[in-house]
C-alpha cells in the first residue's frame, strides 16, 4: 500500500463518523477501527522491505515552486511510530467505545480522534519537512479539539487553549527553523536534507535553525520549561490522554529529533541543549509526579519525565544512545498507555482519580489491579518487565556521558530520576490498590466489562513479553528504527540480563531509594505542601491575561475611535513622507517665470485669505461659517475665470450654491453652534499639524507652478485635435465628453449613487428611531412668519422659464463654448430649487411630474447607450462621431453623438441634485411641516377673488 494512502486513510476514517454523527458509538468506533486497521495492515505489509533496509516512498507534486511536496516515506523510524500510532490507536478506539457514555457525542469524538491520528501519521510518514510542518500543526489543532471535547469543563477549555498556545508557539518557531534548514540544504525533502549533514552543520544558520526546531520539539514533547501544559491537558477524556500522551502527540517532538538526528546531532550545541534539557526534565518532572494526587496528573508528569529521558538519550548523540532511545519509546508507549487506561477505568468505576480518595482496590478490581501493577512496575523499571530493560540501557549511556568535563554528573542525575520514578510508580500501585478497603468511594468500584479492560490487558501482556523476550519481540523494530535514526545499520542485541555492571548497581540504588522515599511519602507531602511552589498554570494564565490585557489596553488606546487622531496621523504621515521624498530627490529650483501680479487679483487673494482665516476663527458659528464658505467659493470661482478656466468657474459657482443649499437644509436639524471641546493643547497641536500641512502643500503647489513639464503634455494633442477629431471648439468639453468620456461616465455614476445613497438613508432614518425623534421635533430657534413670501414667488416664477432657456443654451453650446451638460443640469436644478424655496417643496413637487430616480437611471443609461452605440459600428465603447446637418430653410448645424452623452450627464445631474434635496425635505416634513395648497402665504388678489 502506498505510504500516501496509508497517511490518508485516517482522514477518510474521520469522515465517516462525522457523516454518521447520529448513528451511535458502535458505528463510529467500527468505522474508525476499520480505517485504522487497514492502515496498520498496509503499513505492516512494508515490514519485509524495510527490514531489508529499503525506504518506501511515494511522491506527489503539490507546490513545487515552494518545495512543498506531498512526499511520503516509510523507513524504520516511520514504521516504529506508525505501528505505535495505529496499533495503540486501534486499542484506544476499542477502549473509548466503552469509555464514552451514551450522552457523549461519539461521532464528534471519533472524528477528532481520527483527524488527530491522521495528522500524527502524516508527521511520521512525511518525506518533506514542510509537509511535516502541516501535519505537525494539524496535531496541535486536532488535539485542541480533543482536549476541549468536554466543553462543559472549564479545565478542558483552558487546557486546550494552553496546549494549543504552547505547542502552537513551538510549531511557529519550527516553521522558521524548517525553512532555514531547507534553504541550507537546498531542498525540503527529508531524503535530501538527511544527505546534507556537512552543509547544515557548517552553515552559520545552523544554530538558529537548531534552536527554532528544538523549540518546536520541546514544546510538543513537554520538555522543561514547557512541561506545564501537559498535565492540564489531562482534562481530556481518558482515551484521549492515553493516546496523546503515551504514544503519539508528545512523542512527535521525539520523533522530530530522531528524524533530524543524523543532520543535527553530534555537535556540542546539540549535546548541551538537548541532553541537558532532557536530563532536567526527567528529574524535575519525576520529582513533581511523586506528589500528584490526581492519577492522571501523576501519569502526566511521569510522561514528561520519560520524555525527558528519551530526549536526553537522543541528546547524547551517540548511536548506542539512539538505540536505547528507540527501545524506550516502544516500552514507554506500552506501559504508559496501559496505565492511562487503567487510570481511566478507575475513574470510570470508582468515580474519582484522586489518590487520597482511593486505596484498597486490589480485591474490588482484581483485573485492573493486575494490569495496573504490571504496567506500573515496568514504569518503575523492575525486572523482568520491559521498562527495566530500557532503563538499564539509559543508565548505561548516562555513565558514558561527560558534562562539562564532569563524568559522573549525568549518571548521578539519571539515577536520581530513576529513583523518583520508582517512587511514584510504587506509590501508584500502593496507594490505589493496597491498604484497607474504604466505604466512601463515589461509586462502588468493580472491574469493568471485558471491552474496557481488554485493551490495557493486551498492553500489559506486551510489557511482560517484551521484558522476557526482548530479542524476538522488539529487536527487529528497534533495529529498523535505530538504523533509520542513525543512518547506519544498527544491530542491537536486546537482552534481559547484561551481567553485574554499573547500571545494574545504579538501578538497585534507585529501587532502594525509591522504596525508601515512598516510605517517607507522608512527611514529604506535608513538607512540599508547606512550600508555595510556583504553579505553572497560574503563571501561564497570568502571562496570557497580561498579554490580553495589554493588547486590549493598547488596542483600545490606539484605535480609540477618535476621528481626529486618525486624520492627524494621516496628515502627518502625508507631510513627512512627502517631505522625505522631496528632500531625497533632485530639484533644480524654479525655472518658469512668474506671472505678474495685478492689483485686483491681489485684492481677491486678500479676500480669500481673510475669509479663510475668519472661517476657521468663526467655524463654531455654523451659519456664519457657511456665509464665509460662500465667499471662499466665490473667490475660487473668480480665480478660475481669471486664470483662463471659464468652464471650471461655471461648474464651481453652480456646485457652490447647491452645496450651500444642501448644507443649510442639513443645518436646520443640526446644532447651530459648535461647543468648544478640545483643550488648548489639542487645538495647538492641531493648528501645528494644519500649518505644517498647509505649508507643505502650498510649497508643493509653488514648486510645481514654477517648474516646467519634463515632457510635453498629452493635452497638446488634445488642443490640436479637439476640433478635427472631436468636432468641438471647447477643448475642455471635448475632453470631458469624448477624449475622457469614460471618466465622465464614472463621474455621473458617482453622482447618481450619491443621490441613491441619500435617498436610501432617508428612508431608513424615517422608518427608525430618527423618524420618531423627528415627529416630536421642536424647532430650537424663533421663526419668522410668512413662509412663502409673495415677492419671491412672483420673481422665481419668472426666473424659472428664463433659467430653463439659459440652461438649454448652456447645454447646447457646451461643445464649443464654456458650458455643457453638467452646468446646464445644475442651472436647471438651481432654478427648480428656487421655485421650491419660494413656494414650498410640496407645492412645487405636486407640479413636478418626473421621478428623480428615473432621471438618474435614464441619465446613466443614456450615457451608457451612447457608449454602447459605438459597438454596432465595430468601434470601442464611447467612440463618438459628429456631423453637420442641413435642414431645408435653415442653416447648417452640428450634431455630435457626444451630445447624447452630455444629455445623460444633464439628466443624471438634475436627478441627483433634486433627489438629494427631496430627501432632505422629506426629513423636514417628517418634523411636522405643513403642506401648503397655495404658492404664497399672502395673496391679496386671492382674497379679492373670493
Amino acid at each position: 500500500m502506498s505510504p500516501a494512502l496509508i497517511a490518508v486513510l485516517p482522514f477518510i476514517g474521520a469522515l465517516l463518523p462525522g457523516l454518521l454523527i447520529r448513528s451511535g458509538r458502535d458505528i463510529a468506533a467500527i468505522s474508525s477501527a476499520t480505517a485504522t486497521f487497514v492502515a496498520l495492515l498496509g503499513l505492516c505489509l512494508h515490514i519485509p522491505a524495510i527490514m531489508a533496509g529499503e525506504v518506501v516512498t511515494a511522491r506527489f507534486d503539490w507546490l513545487p515552486s515552494l518545495g512543498l511536496n506531498a512526499n511520503f516515506r516509510i523507513d524504520g523510524l516511520g514504521l516504529l511510530f506508525g505501528i505505535l500510532i495505529l496499533g495503540i490507536g486501534l486499542l484506544i478506539i476499542a477502549y473509548a467505545r466503552y469509555y464514552l457514555s451514551r450522552e457523549d457525542p461519539a461521532g464528534v469524538f471519533y472524528t477528532y480522534l481520527m483527524l488527530f491520528q491522521g495528522a500524527m501519521l502524516g508527521i511520521v510518514l512525511s518525506d518533506n519537512i514542510l509537509l511535516l510542518l502541516i501535519f505537525w500543526e494539524l496535531t496541535s489543532l486536532s488535539s485542541f479539539l480533543l482536549i476541549g471535547y468536554w466543553k462543559h469543563l472549564p479545565e478542558g477549555r483552558q487546557g486546550a487553549r494552553m496546549a494549543l498556545t504552547v505547542t502552537g508557539m513551538g510549531g511557529l518557531a519550527m516553521i522558521a527553523g524548517m525553512l532555514i534548514l531547507g534553504n541550507i540544504a537546498g531542498s525540503f525533502d527529508i531524503t535530501d536534507i538527511l544527505a546534507s549533514r556537512e552543509a547544515i552543520q557548517t552553515s552559520p544558520y545552523y544554530l538558529p535553525a537548531l534552536l527554532l526546531i528544538l523549540l518546536g520539539a520541546f514544546t510538543k514533547s513537554a520538555q522543561f520549561p514547557f512541561h506545564f501544559w501537559l498535565p492540564h491537558a489531562m482534562a481530556a477524556p481518558t482515551p484521549v490522554s492515553a493516546y496523546l500522551h503515551s504514544a503519539t502527540m508528545v512523542k512527535a517532538g521525539l520523533f522530530l529529533m530522531a528524524r533530524l538526528w543524523p543532520v543535527l546531532s553530534g555537535t556540542p550545541e546539540w549535546f548541551y541543549i538537548v541532553a541537558t534539557t532532557g536530563l532536567i526534565t526527567m528529574v524535575l518532572a519525576a520529582w513533581i509526579a511523586i506528589f500528584r494526587d490526581d492519577l492522571k496528573s501523576l501519569l502526566a508528569f511521569s510522561t514528561v519525565s520519560h520524555l525527558g529521558l528519551i530526549t536526553m538519550l537522543l541528546g547524547f548523540g551517540t548511536e548506542a544512545a539512539a538505540v536505547a532511545a528507540m527501545f524506550h519509546i516502544v516500552n514507554h508507549a506500552t506501559f504508559k498507555a496501559a496505565l492511562f487506561m487503567t487510570a481511566g477505568i478507575i475513574d470510570h468505576e470508582a468515580g474519582t482519580r484522586s489518590i487520597a480518595r482511593l486505596g484498597g482496590l486490589r480485591r474490588l478490581m482484581p483485573v485492573t489491579f493486575v494490569i495496573g501493577t504490571v504496567a506500573a512496575l515496568s514504569m518503575a523499571g523492575i525486572p523482568p518487565l520491559n521498562g527495566f530493560l530500557s532503563k538499564e540501557a539509559m543508565l548505561e549511556q548516562a555513565t558514558h556521558a561527560v558534562w562539562q568535563g564532569n563524568p559522573w554528573l549525568v549518571a548521578a542525575m539519571a539515577t536520581l530520576g530513576a529513583l523518583f520514578s520508582v517512587c511514584y510508580s510504587l506509590r501508584f500501585v500502593w496507594q490505589v490498590f493496597f491498604g484497607p478497603e474504604r466505604n466512601d468511594y463515589p461509586h462502588k468500584p468493580h472491574d469493568p466489562g471485558f471491552g474496557l479492560w481488554s485493551a490495557p490487558a493486551l498492553l500489559a501482556v506486551l510489557v511482560v513479553l517484551i521484558g522476557l523476550f526482548p530479542g524476538s519481540m522488539a529487536d527487529w523494530l528497534v533495529e529498523a528504527s535505530a538504523s533509520a535514526v542513525t543512518g547506519s545499520a544498527q544491530h542491537p542485541h536486546l537482552a534481559l540480563w547484561h551481567g553485574l555492571n554499573l547500571p545494574l548497581a545504579l538501578s538497585a540504588v534507585a529501587l532502594a531509594g525509591g522504596v525508601g522515599l515512598l516510605a517517607l511519602n507522608r512527611p514529604l507531602l506535608a513538607a512540599r505542601a508547606a512550600i508555595a511552589w510556583p504553579d505553572a498554570k497560574a503563571i501561564f494564565d497570568a502571562i496570557t491575561r497580561a498579554a490580553t490585557c495589554a493588547a486590549g489596553f493598547f488596542t483600545d488606546r490606539l484605535t480609540n475611535g477618535s476621528m481626529s487622531r486618525a486624520l492627524a496621523a494621516f496628515a502627518l504621515t502625508v507631510v513627512l513622507c512627502g517631505l522625505w521624498a522631496f528632500s531625497t530627490g533632485g530639484y533644480q529650483g524654479a525655472t518658469r517665470p512668474m506671472l505678474p501680479v495685478q492689483p485686483v487679483p491681489l485684492v481677491g487673494w486678500a479676500a480669500l485669505m481673510v475669509a479663510t482665516c475668519c472661517m476657521v476663527a468663526f467655524h463654531r458659528r455654523r451659519i456664519l461659517a457657511l456665509v464665509l464658505v460662500g465667499i471662499i467659493g466665490l473667490m475660487v470661482s473668480v480665480s478660475f475665470i481669471y486664470l483662463s478656466a471659464p468652464d471650471l468657474a461655471l461648474t464651481q459657482i453652480s456646485v457652490e450654491v447647491v452645496t450651500v443649499v444642501l448644507l443649510l437644509l442639513a443645518l436646520n436639524f443640526l446644532p447651530k453652534f459648535t461647543v468648544i471641546e478640545s483643550r488648548d493643547r489639542k487645538r495647538g497641536v492641531d493648528a501645528f499639524i494644519a500649518t505644517l500641512t498647509g505649508l507643505g502643500f502650498g510649497a508643493l503647489a509653488y514648486a510645481i507652478m514654477r517648474s516646467d513639464f519634463a515632457f510635453s503634455p498629452i493635452s497638446e494633442y488634445m488642443l490640436a485635435n479637439s476640433y478635427k477629431l472631436g468636432g468641438g471648439d471647447n477643448v475642455v468639453n471635448v475632453i470631458l465628453v469624448d477624449f475622457r468620456g469614460y471618466d465622465t461616465f464614472g463621474e455621473i455614476t458617482v453622482l447618481g449613487i450619491a443621490a441613491l445613497t441619500i435617498f436610501a438613508l432617508t428612508e431608513t432614518l424615517l422608518a427608525g428611531a430618527s423618524g420618531r425623534r423627528l415627529r416630536n421635533w421642536v424647532h430650537g430657534s424663533r421663526r419668522a412668519g410668512d413662509r412663502h413670501p409673495l415677492m419671491l414667488v412672483v420673481v422665481t416664477r419668472l426666473i424659472l422659464p428664463v433659467s430653463l432657456v439659459v440652461g438649454l443654451y448652456i447645454f447646447l453650446r457646451g461643445h464649443n463654448m464654456p458650458g455643457g451638460g453638467f452646468v446646464a443640469g445644475l442651472v436647471v436644478s438651481v432654478a427648480l430649487v428656487s421655485q421650491y424655496m419660494a413656494s414650498g417643496f410640496a407645492w412645487a413637487q405636486e407640479r413636478q411630474k418626473i421621478n428623480y430616480h428615473a432621471l438618474i437611471g435614464a441619465g446613466v443609461i443614456a450615457a451608457g447607450l451612447t457608449g454602447i452605440g459605438a459597438w454596432f459600428a465595430g468601434l470601442p465603447f464611447l467612440s463618438s462621431t459628429y456631423g453637420y446637418v442641413k435642414l431645408p430653410g435653415l442653416e447648417e448645424f452640428e450634431l455630435a453623438s457626444a451630445m447624447g452623452f452630455d444629455l445623460g450627464v444633464f439628466l443624471c445631474v438634475m436627478g441627483a441634485v433634486m433627489l438629494a434635496l427631496n430627501s432632505l425635505s422629506r426629513i423636514a416634513r417628517q418634523a411636522g411641516e405643513t403642506v401648503n395648497l397655495d404658492p404664497m402665504d399672502i395673496d391679496p388678489s386671492r382674497e379679492a377673488r373670493r
Partner: protein, 127 residues
C-alpha cells in the same frame, strides 16, 4: 471715438457708484441703512459697466452682444428680492414689532406674525 468717450464715462460712473455702494456698507451706521447702499449703488454701478460693455464690443470689435443686457435685467429682477429678504432677516433678528409703524390697526407685518400660520387651508404632512 464718441463710443470711446461714452464708454469711458460709463466706466467711470459705474466704478464710482460701485465704490460708493460698498463704501456705504462700511460707513453707514446701522444695518438697516447699510442695506440701502449696496442694493442700489452697486446695481447702478454694475449696470453702467454692463452698458459700457454693451456699447464697447460693437464699437471696438464690430460684434454686437446682448448678453450684458440679459445680465442687467437679471440683476434688476433679483436685487429687490435679495434686499427684501435681507431686510426681513434683519427685522426678524434685530427689531421688535413695537419699533415699527403698524400697517393697519390690529394688523401686523408678515415677518412678525405667527410662524406656523397656515396660508389658508394647509394639510398636515403625510395626510
Amino acid at each position: 471715438m464718441i463710443a470711446e468717450i461714452v464708454v469711458s464715462v460709463l466706466l467711470v460712473l459705474g466704478g464710482f457708484f460701485g465704490l460708493v455702494g460698498s463704501y456705504g456698507l462700511v460707513k453707514l451706521p446701522d444695518p438697516m441703512t447699510r442695506l440701502h447702499a449696496p442694493t442700489k449703488s452697486a446695481t447702478l454701478g454694475v449696470g453702467a459697466v454692463l452698458i459700457a460693455s454693451l456699447i464697447w464690443f460693437p464699437a471696438r470689435h464690430g460684434v454686437l452682444t446682448w448678453h450684458e443686457l440679459l445680465i442687467t435685467l437679471f440683476l434688476f429682477l433679483t436685487a429687490p428680492v435679495t434686499g427684501y429678504f435681507i431686510a426681513k432677516a434683519h427685522m426678524h433678528l434685530g427689531w421688535s414689532r413695537d419699533e415699527l409703524p403698524r400697517p393697519a390697526p390690529g394688523k401686523d407685518w408678515a415677518t412678525f406674525c405667527d410662524p406656523d400660520k397656515a396660508s389658508l387651508v394647509d394639510r398636515r404632512a403625510g395626510d
